[in-house]
Subunit: 138 residues, 2 copies
DNA sequence: ACAAAATGATACAATTATAGTATCATATTA
DNA sequence: TAATATGATACTATAATTGTATCATTTTGT
């Protein structure tokens, strides 16, 4: 049972790395070398982050990826949504055939409460909050 | 992204149903009919709950399953552990090759905190707490 | 113009987890 | 001894996760 998949984990680490570097633009290969992730997989992840507006990309020599948004504005839920879809802790349904308690299902209610709290906490985790103290301003 | 799989969901509903009935012993087929779940799948789930000590089973006519433990003592985490293994929100590792921040990874720390809280809340959900008010004593 | 260095688009493949099915054996009861 | 129930277990299907690989396109520097 995982809440966070490797996709998301890699993406977060890549974002952190980019945010920490002095250079603005970091190439995919540099990330692969530094973070030791599977090349093709990371490349795909970077492309996705670009499409979703969290990274800017530039081609050619000296090109690569740079943050399109400040590190403080990228939350863990943002990244999770991109790579894992919407967060839902349970699929427990209201349908009569699925749950004998129908609209008044206490399990559903309790899970939903927990879900809300989890989402709130994940939302509070931003890229900059993950960076070591001292790097936070960036 | 799911926290609770269908296994667990079915198991919880079956336990609730058994806890609610006036008869102590409920046959698998009765559960299948009442809860409209796939027969073989539910049967396997019931067998597992029996092996794990949450249900007692009896064979032959009039046989079936009964709670082996009171509904207030079965928590959601118990059931989740059985069907989904240990709860871990992230696999984010401390290994040098996996995380550039190694032993001081703030992401890991933050996720672990959330994980602890989630587990505590899931632990607070028992079968009896899911049952409608009025049935709670059982 | 052209080669090198980078990303873009996209299709494919492997592995694992989830969800479900089916069958035969065994025990119990009437 | 037949009917009813679970036990053990092997098999299958589907979907999600985790990758891999290839060719196209853009940019830069010589």
């Amino acid at each position: 049972m995982k809440l966070i998949t490797r996709n998301t984990d890699y993406a977060v680490r890549a974002l952190c790395y980019i945010a920490e570097q002095k250079q603005e633009v970091i190439s995919g290969d540099q990330l692969v070398k530094s973070l030791e992730m599977p090349r093709s997989f990371l490349r795909k992840i970077l492309q996705t982050l670009n499409k979703e507006g969290f990274l800017n990309s530039s081609k050619g020599k000296g090109g690569g990826f740079a943050l399109a948004v400040s590190a403080g504005e990228i939350t863990l839920t943002d990244v999770m949504k991109i790579f894992q879809g919407p967060i839902r802790l349970s699929e427990h349904k209201f349908k009569k055939s699925d749950c004998p308690y129908i609209s008044d299902c206490l399990l559903k209610k309790k899970i939903d409460e927990i879900e809300k709290e989890v989402i709130a906490k994940l939302k509070a985790i931003t890229i900059s909050s993950i960076l070591k103290k001292g790097d936070k301003g960036k």
